[in-house]
Amino acid sequence: MPVITYRQALNNTLGEELARDPNVLLMGEEIGLFQGSYRITEGLLEEFGPRRVVDTPIAEEGFVGLAIGAAMLGLRPVVEIMTINFILVAIDQVVNHASKIHYMFGGQVRVPLVIRTPSGGTGQLGATHSQSFENWFAYCPGLKVVAPATPYDAKGLLRAAIRDDDPVIFIESLALYDTKGEVPSNDDYVVPIGLAEIKRRGTDVTVVAYSRMTAVAMQVAQRMEQEGISVEVVDLRSLRPLDRPTIIESVRRTNRAVVIAEDWYSYGITAEIAATIQEQAFDYLDAPVQRVAGLEVPLPYAKDLSAVTKPSANSLIHAIHKVLEGKR
């Protein structure tokens, strides 16, 4: 099976979907002539022309609204927001319009819109460009939110998102763009939205993660195997709908759970997962669920300070040891 990067997986999928369905179009800042701030749309303007790959002004509220209108009238826009931080000026369009139109107009119209955007903080981009807001959207009924961790899932979920008739927020990560993985070339597979995956089997503790933190969890699981600790990694892949049965089934087997996410600790994704576990696996727990999340500060610009505010392999290892305390 060919090994490609996460970036290539996204780029290939966008090209394939543009070719497959004439109603698909891409919109966003610098995605055409500049070929994308992170080169996700490289070569697509040249191949599909300016009617299918549309450079927009720096006006997120305007072009997200435009995309919602286009989706209502039958197109399938895929909007790139340069980073999730910039979606804040368009949040009224997403939360008050895209998510609710299908409900509020009696099912007369649907909004088959995809908003792709990288989330999280890496590379000293400062406090306003390093945030994780996927929980804001995962909170909102009427939206779907996916966050793939591997090139395979990136491809399968982007296909699913573009072909879905509801608005989907597609969460990427700058730190994942250059990661590699096997992706079949002549296979029109789709990763269904709303299904988590057990990325690694283990018996001592379940680590629940998504996006970049799944990659961290996989490395940690490998390292801890040498210590004789068997870590199971559940990759959520979808934040809404949330695949609660897969999480619960895993925790019932391992009796212990650590949840890791890049967002801030209070009111974050980890809180939702931990609450789910105590509701549905209470009688299977051998220790309180541990949460690993970001420190509740604006992300510092300084590299060393920035590193300690974000969850890391070390903080995950610490939490795993804590949840395993006393286990023989």
Binding site: F282, D283, Y284, L285, D286, A287, E325, G326, K327, R328
Partner: protein, 388 residues
């Protein structure tokens, strides 16, 4: 915010009782201020605060006993509200602390959780504990062996002690002894000592105006004998490699068991081999007086390398004593008795005393114990040696 924890006030203290709180929640506390009284197995001590601030919460009320290191109160900034902190013990107020899955499993297996020891945080019973408890003992023809874990933990050697690894033979002896006698494997060796000369010496010292008991003479002689047979002045220890080792103590600190109304304590005469009998006598008397008032300081009960215990005043002929870890030996002293003895070809009235040395057989063998008693006998039978 700072934790106030149950302090370790003596070598043997593993838990302490909060006698009474001298500060109330909300009171200001300065560094060094006395905030509570702690009752140990030996004495009542005052607890000084290491921190300044407001006493925000009393976790352990007066009268309750907790292990050392346990949080008994919090001192912090008055502006900060205190979050409720759960008590840390496995069982609190009759409720057994167990994880949900341990509880469910115990239900399924019919295990009474009150009988299970918890290995989780704060003594919480976890699934493994229930499984271990419920595991049926496998029948078989093998001779049961006590668990190796029954060997008491080897304490870190006292500062300044030299630690030498055990020889293979020593290790084998050490292991065999622990297997047979879990805990510290004691053996005891008894010797009869003629005390005529020692009694006469005591009379002379008293006549010269210095108060001295027979036991003071024994303490001094025991300390000098330790110098002659230093193998007895050691501890079973853990070496830097985690392997069993022997710590040899450079100083001779002898503790003297003293009975109190409700138990006993063992104040320590430091460097007893170098002190005069008069000094030893005065020190012991002062410490005993402080102990009876509950005022003895923790350092006065710490650091002994050897112990002397005497039941002679009750007319006890001989007995064997239990070693106080991490010491390697304990000397049990019986009464001085008048007995018929053969001197030359005549039966005369002699004064004799039986002493029994208990040793930790992991580090001291019977022959060494006998050598030590020979040395002690020599010193007490020609007691001029203990004066110089």
């Amino acid at each position: 915010m700072a934790d106030v924890t149950m302090p370790r006030l003596s070598d043997t203290m593993s838990e302490g009782t909060v006698g009474r709180w001298l500060k109330n929640v909300g009171d200001q506390v300065a560094v060094g201020e006395i905030i509570a009284e702690i009752e140990t197995d030996k004495a009542t001590m005052e607890l000084e605060s290491f921190d300044a601030g407001t006493l925000q919460r009393i976790v352990i009320p007066a009268g309750q006993m907790v292990p050392i290191g346990e949080v008994i109160a919090y001192i912090g900034d008055a502006a900060l509200p205190m979050e409720a902190t759960p008590a840390v013990n496995g069982a609190e107020e009759g409720r057994v602390k167990a994880s949900p899955v341990a509880r469910r499993l115990a239900d399924e297996l019919g295990v009474d959780l009150r009988q299970v020891t918890g290995s989780g945080p704060g003594g919480r019973i976890i699934k493994d504990d229930v499984e271990m408890f419920a595991a049926p003992r496998k029948p078989g023809a093998t001779i049961p062996r006590p668990a190796r874990a029954a060997v008491p933990p080897a304490p870190a050697p006292a500062t300044g002690s030299s630690v030498a690894p055990m020889s293979r033979m020593r290790k084998a002896i050490s292991r065999a002894m622990s297997d047979s006698k879990p805990g510290v494997p004691h053996i005891s060796v008894t010797m009869e000592i003629a005390m005529d000369a020692a009694m006469a010496l005591r009379e002379q010292i008293i006549a010269s105006g210095t108060k001295v008991s027979l036991n003071d003479l024994v303490v001094k002689a025991a300390a000098k004998a330790l110098r002659a047979v230093p193998t007895v002045n050691t501890s079973y220890a853990s070496g830097p490699d985690g392997q069993p080792a022997i710590a040899s103590h450079p100083a001779v600190h002898v503790s003297v068991a003293v009975s109190l109304a409700d138990g006993l304590i063992a104040p320590v005469v430091r460097d007893a081999d170098t002190k005069s009998v008069g000094t030893i006598s005065a020190e012991i008397r002062a410490m005993v007086a402080r102990a009876r008032d509950g005022k003895i300081a923790p350092h006065e009960l710490d650091g002994a390398t050897f112990q002397v215990t005497n039941l002679g005043m009750f007319g006890v002929v001989e007995f064997s004593s239990i070693i106080t870890v991490p010491q390697a030996a304990s000397l049990a002293v019986g009464a001085v008795r008048k007995v018929p003895v053969v001197r030359g070809d005549q039966i005369v009235i002699g004064q004799v005393m039986n002493v029994t040395l208990s040793v930790d057989h992991r580090v001291v063998d019977g022959a060494v114990a006998a050598q030590y008693l020979q040395e002690l006998k020599k010193l007490l039978e020609s007691p001029v040696g203990i004066l110089i």
